[in-house]
Structure formats: C-alpha cells, structure tokens
Symmetry: C2
Subunit: 477 residues, 2 copies
C-alpha cells in the first residue's frame, strides 16, 4: 500500500531515516488527519502482535490480565493532588454526549491509576488477597503540545501495557519493583535491545510515586529513549483511594503499591536500534516474515522453479515458520530490496542450478550467506535464523556501550552528551543538576545505574566539588 | 475478589440470574463509577481472550489486522449524511485538551468508517490493490440513554471486532458479505451458540448501507440478541470519501465496500445460552479452567492425596490442558460450588480409595460422571471434554428451535413473540410492520431468514392480506 519512490535516507541521518522507514516498511501511516495520531499498517501491526505476544506471555507468568474503562470521571481523576499536577495539562476531556453536555466531564485515561484504584479499594479486603498483580494492554491519551512523532511521542498511545500491583508492606512492593525490572530486562533482552536501568531524580519521578526506576536505551542519534518505567507508589495512592487490608492480627492497614508500564516505544526502539540503510532488521522471533522464498526462474525451466519454490514454502510453513513465496512478476533484485526493507529475516533463492544441486541459497537480513541442502531445509533454516538474534544482540550491545562515557570535566561532559550518555559525579542537589543540564542541553537521567563498573568517575560533584555519586546525563526523547 | 453470599437466582429469573452471575463468576464488576462502563475481572477477561483468540485466528485466514485511531475529527465524521443521522445522538465529543478548547472537536469512534475510509482513499489506487480486507479489535463508544447492561448495552464497547473491505464491483462485495456470514456462523458454531441469520428491514439497516444481514440469537427470556452484523455498503461511502481505483482499462471507478462486526455481546450470549442454575457453563475450548483437580484428603493419608493431586495437575498441564489444583483448606463441596460457578469444564476428584484403585473420578460441568484410570489421564480427560461441546450444541440448538414458531393469526403472533420469535407473513410495507410491532410490543427482525423450512406460514400478509413473505418478529435487546 506504500508506494516505493526514491531511496531510504542513510541511517546516519536518523530522523529522516526513521520517518521514511515507517512508511516504506509499512509500519505506520502518518497521514491520518489529526496531529499525533497514526495508523498501524498491517505489517507494522504484525510486528506489534509478535512483540506484545511475548510481553503478554511474560506477564502471564505472575500477573493476570484485566480491562478497565477508558473514561475516568472528573471527581476520581482529581482525587490525588500530585497526580493531577503531573497530568492536568495533558488530559483530554469528553464534555458532550450527542448534543447533551455531560453532568460530569470524563477524562480519557492518560494512565489508569485513578480508574483502577477505586476498584482495588473494593477488591482488597484481607492480607490473603495480596499480592494482587494485574495488567492491561490499552490505549491511553496525552494532549501533547510538543512535536509529536510516530511510536515515540503520541496523542493516542495505542499499546500501553500497564501493570498495577498491591502488597502488604513497603518492602513487598520494593521486591515487586525488582521483579518488574527483571521482567522488563528479559523482555528487552529478547528484543535484543540493550537497556540502561537507573533511578530517576526526584523531580522526574512519576507523580505520586516514592521513586521511579527507568529503562532507557540509546537511539542511533545518541538521544536516550525511555522505554519502560517502574514506580514504587508506597501508600500514597492507597491513602487517597482507601485501599486497605485486614492484617493477620485483624487490624486495618493501608496497602503498598507499584505500577509499571511499557508502550509502543518498545517498537520504536526495536526498529531504530537494529535497522540499517536498507530498511528494517528484526530478530527473527518478531519478524512477520521469517523466510521469503524467491524463485529465480530462468527461461524454459520457469515452471519447474516455481513448483520447487512452492514446495519449499509448504515445507517451511508446515514446520511453523512464517514463510512467504514472492512469485510476483518482478526482477529478483527488486524483490530483495522489497523484503529487506520490510525486515524479512531470511531470503531463500532457488533457481535451475540450485534444483540440480539439491541446494538453496540462503541470505539472512544481516548478510550471512550460506547454502542449505533441500532435504535439510527446516533444520538448516532454523540454524541460520537461530544465530541472528545473538549477532544482533552483540552488535547492539557494543553500540550502546560506545555511547556511554565517563566525564570528569565540563568539556568531557559536553562531548559525551553530544555523542550519547555521560556518566558524571553529582552531589544530589537540584542546583547542580540544573547546571549539568544547562551546560549540556541535556537532562539528568538518573542515578544508581545498573551498568557494571564504569571507571574513571571522580567522587567529587562535577559542579560543586562536594561528595557525589555516579549519575547519567543525556539528551532524552 | 467477589464475595460469595447467598445463592444464585434460578436461570428462569433471567435478568436477576444474569446480573448476579456476572459478579459471582467474576466476569464483570458493575461498580465502576460511570453508568454503562464496567470492569473485566481477570476470570472474565480470560474467557474473552479465548473467544477473541478464536475470532482473530478465523479472521487471519483472509484478513489482516490493523489499528486506526480512536479520535475522529468532526469534519470527517460529518461527511456522510446518513451515517451522521444514525449516530449523532450517540457520539461522545472530546472538546478540551488540558485547559485548552480544541480547534476541532474529536468524536470517540462509535464505529470506524469515518476514521478508516479517508485512509482507504489514499491506499487504494488500482484494481490490483483489491480486494482489501482489514480488521481491528478496538474499544468504541456510544452515549446510550437507554438502560445499560454489562456486555449487552454499553457506553464503552471494549471489544469491537470490526472488518472493513474494499472491492471492485458490487457483486464482489456481495460475495464478501456471504463470506463474512460464513465466518460468523463458524465462529458461533464453535461457541455452540445457534444463530438466526436474516436481512434487517430497510429502516433498521446500518446508516449508509445498501443492506444489512444480522446474526441474532435468542436469550433465555425469549428476547433476541443481535450478536453480529454484516453490511453491504455499495459505493455509498466510496463516493463520499473518494475511494477510487483504476480498472484494467485505465478508467477510474468507485470501489464497493462491506463492513461487519462482532462485539462482547458474543460473550453475553455465550454466558446466557449455556449457563445454568449453578453458574457458568462454557465449551471447554473457552473455559479458563478446563480441569480442576480437587483432593479429597482423608485423615492420615492427606499428604499422599495432595501429592497425587499435584502429579495429576502436572500431567495435565504438560499436555497443554488448562488445569488447576484447588488445595485450599475448604470442604470439597464448597470447592465444587466455587468451580461450577466459574465454569470449570471438568472436575477431577482424587481420594485415598481412588489412589488405591489407580483411578480418578471425573465430573463434567454438564454432569457427565465417569472414572478415568490414572495412567490414561490425558486421553481420558480429552475424551470426556471432547464430548461436551457437541452436547452443549445439541441442547442449545433445541432450545433455539423451541423458541421459533410460525404464526398465522394475531393471537398466534402475540403468543409466539411472548415466548420467542414469530415467523409471520409480511407484505414488506412499513405500515404493516408498524402494526406487527404495535400488537406484539416487539420488532420486525428481518426477512430471508436462513432457518431451513419453517412450515405453516401463510403467503398472505398477516396484517393486510396482500402477498407477503416469511418474516421474523421478536422482542430485541
């Protein structure tokens, strides 16, 4: 449905590459007539299905899926003061039904705390009901006044996976925070996306949270993208919404809570981290087309080649591999271009000489070329595809590490933030953070980063010289 | 999370039974603080996942999944005059973002024609692009002023599967209508829900359609529930939205379209058609818990029984059966009650004597009792469960047929509509339809019903005596 004209800009021109790739690879159509709302093409949505299928599977191990309403009545939405402050400028309001003005304006959920927690107040009765761990995958809304960007900054977040848990104690909730981080790390590991886990500074935590742990990755232009957050809510919301349980001794206690979310930014990261100048590159697990069979029909053996190609297709599909046959009347080169753009993980070419040799030529999307005997097609394809994710993981990990640099001086700081993420020493004072941000044009991403040992960071705060600790500074999307 | 108090009203008191079952079986919580909006409990949502998993699988055979925005700008929504007339009283409007009034009010989709077709106008270029067959599963909104009811009449329809297809000719679109009906019939056949397919009268067709085919079922109180519709849109919307293609001769032509949908009313029907005085009854394919293992621990052999029960659980789960072990400290009878309410398809009891005999007792939700040798557990369970759907289908089919009666006189008509659906002769004139509706308090559901031969229907219109044809009259939800 997307027309092919001209060439994809090189990935080094990231913003142009990203925008162009979205339509050339048929991921999102940006021509919907409202700012910040986009349309998922079927190919893009197929990627979403595979990615969210995994997320669901991982959540299901320890959570139950549920579904709450989109519309939140004003009086519930306005109950939690800090939460309101964080969201009031961004909330869409439904004020009319038909020609009637509604008695109570309804907010489109920007996130679902105020929809879910009044029900949790009814559901939680006893310590035996805890922990309660639910999640939902829903659309949420933000009235973004900044520049919007498909999959990254949206007015309708179409694919928000949000989990909301309830626990007896603050420590139980803290353990859940760690469990959630582990799930998200495993999720991104499967997507072959390396992440940085850190604790957001006080002023950047979720409105109403005790603290926020963020999962960031670094995009090809060196800017960071927040692709997951985990919040310890303490008893902040449970006091507002009266979520109480009877403890083992019969006393009423306020519960402790966490919430954590992942959105379609996971797909933005998947596309951006792995893609190349020829288009989409996806770990085979998430590619809508894992193998495309391309017949190379020469002269009078055309029918024979097409028949052999169909047989390959059938064999692959029977083995549960997402395979397609491209028998369109186009030059093979045009087909290579087409499927590379869309991230087919492996291309199989079969021509008269291959038939005679009982072999096919296989070329992975990352360029691994080999020959596979026809009578070992499935195992051969499985082997070749099996190595792809590991290779992508290594490459992406190296890329990320090259973007993170210790900085002991202002010059080093500015240079590091220009290229990616700086690790500096910071005393924890807001004034010094403001200076770090001012001098770089970036922001303090977080502390307590789980990055292993990054050497070369002085203990003295880069700004004031007081005792400081390792802190990430970068330019964030 | 739902408290168990008192007993479920008998199903003969259908409305009370339905409302009570929804919370006792943990399907929907109706306490959300906005009229017409409800919360899916995890158990209810698990049923939805199985039902919609099947629907997706069936749609995927010939359609691609996609996702369009929820918000429709006023100018697009207002393009199609008949469509507006059909929906303008029911549409929710977003008028504010944060504290700003929006330049263009945004409608919450009541259905997605006006969101999707402007994009189809961009996507469809040539006859080679056709047919185009897409679907999405989304939340849609109706400002219902009538009495709302969970899963049946909602302000947020949380689970609307809508398909939108584009074709070259009117006949191609008609073939798609038939293909869609076949999909829906197969879908409801898998749910063991018998349906009535008929053509809605002119005044009840979808706003903007050439004609509407409806899928109805009959609820336990004799009222019909519309659980699917298929619309032939002709070139009505393609002219409004300029959806044109170049035909094989190079001429520009208006496309022809269809759309069709199924909502969570499918779940309302599933619950209502099969449930009984003890709670939920589900075809095993859709039950979140297919087998529950209940240990009957007696005295000092308690540990041995619990161990044997765990082994049964493990064996069943390894075989891909959705099994659970209920080892709570409750009387077995209380557990039977609990799992019957929630529609567990099969209960397996194991006590000391069963262990000694190498057997377990199995009781299906519909009351089939048998013994299964432990060493043939999986095949035994599969056999027993395999017969359940067929039994449920037969029972539901008989129930439906008993509700459909030919009527040759007004008295017969009134009596038949009192019990279910009347088949009468009607000339096709609106005046006569008004009389049919007035005398029964019901409505003309449709003509051309695909019911096989229903004898005993005169050819003369029951009202005016002119030549008529077989027509369904019933009270609809």
């Amino acid at each position: 449905m997307a027309e092919e004209e001209g060439a994809l800009p090189p990935k080094s021109d990231f913003s142009a590459w990203y925008n162009d790739l979205l339509w050339r690879a048929e991921i999102m159509d940006v021509r919907y007539p409202v700012k910040g709302l986009y349309v998922w093409y079927p190919h893009g949505f197929a990627i979403r299905r595979h990615v969210y299928g995994l997320l669901r599977e991982m959540m299901d191990r320890s959570h139950q899926e549920t579904l709450f309403p989109l519309l939140i009545p004003e009086h519930e939405f306005m109950k939690e003061a800090e939460h309101i402050k964080g969201f009031e400028d961004e909330v869409y309001w439904v004020t009319h039904g038909g020609k009637d003005q509604l008695d109570v304006p309804l907010a489109l959920r920007p996130t679902s705390e105020t929809a879910i927690y009044p029900m949790y107040a009814l559901w939680v009765r006893s310590h035996a009901d805890l922990p309660l761990r639910l999640y939902q995958i829903v659309n949420t809304f933000r009235y973004e006044t900044k520049h919007t960007r498909p999959l990254i900054r949206l007015r309708e977040i179409t694919s928000f996976k949000e989990a909301h848990t309830v626990h007896s104690t603050w420590n139980d909730a803290q353990e859940q925070v760690e469990a959630a981080i582990a799930i998200y790390q495993e999720f991104y590991d499967r997507l072959c996306i390396p992440v940085i886990v850190s604790k957001r500074p006080e002023w950047d935590k979720f409105p109403g949270a005790d603290y926020t742990i963020a999962i960031d990755t670094v995009m090809p232009d060196g800017k960071t993208l927040q692709i997951g957050t985990v919040h310890h809510l303490g008893d902040h919301f449970s006091r507002t919404f009266s979520i109480m349980y009877e403890d083992a001794l019969g006393a009423q206690q306020y519960a402790h809570q966490t919430c954590y979310g992942i959105s379609e930014r996971s797909i933005a990261a998947l596309i951006s981290v792995h893609g190349d100048d020829r288009g989409l590159v996806l770990p085979p697990e998430f590619s809508p087309v894992q193998v495309v069979v391309i017949p190379i029909p020469i002269g009078k053996r055309k029918d024979e080649v097409l028949l052999a190609a169909s047989r390959l297709l059938e064999t692959l599909q029977k083995a549960g591999i997402r395979a397609r046959l491209d028998d369109r009347d186009l030059r093979p080169g045009a087909k290579y271009y087409y499927w590379e753009m869309r991230g087919a993980a492996l291309r199989i070419e079969i021509g008269p000489r291959d038939i005679d040799a009982g072999m096919v030529v296989s070329v992975t999307r990352t360029g691994q070329r080999s020959q596979i005997p026809v009578d070992q097609l499935v195992s051969g394809v499985t082997d070749v595809l099996g190595g792809e994710a590991a290779r992508m993981k290594v490459r992406a990990g190296e890329m990320l590490r090259s973007r993170i640099r210790p900085a002991g001086t202002t010059d080093e700081l500015v240079a590091a933030v220009g290229e990616g993420v700086a690790v500096v020493s910071w005393c924890g004072e807001k004034n010094c953070a403001d200076s770090l941000e001012e001098v770089t044009g970036g922001s303090v991403l977080g502390t307590e980063a789980r990055l292993g040992d990054i050497g070369g960071i002085p203990t003295a705060c880069l700004i004031c010289g007081s005792n400081g600790k390792a802190t990430l500074v970068g330019r964030a999307y």
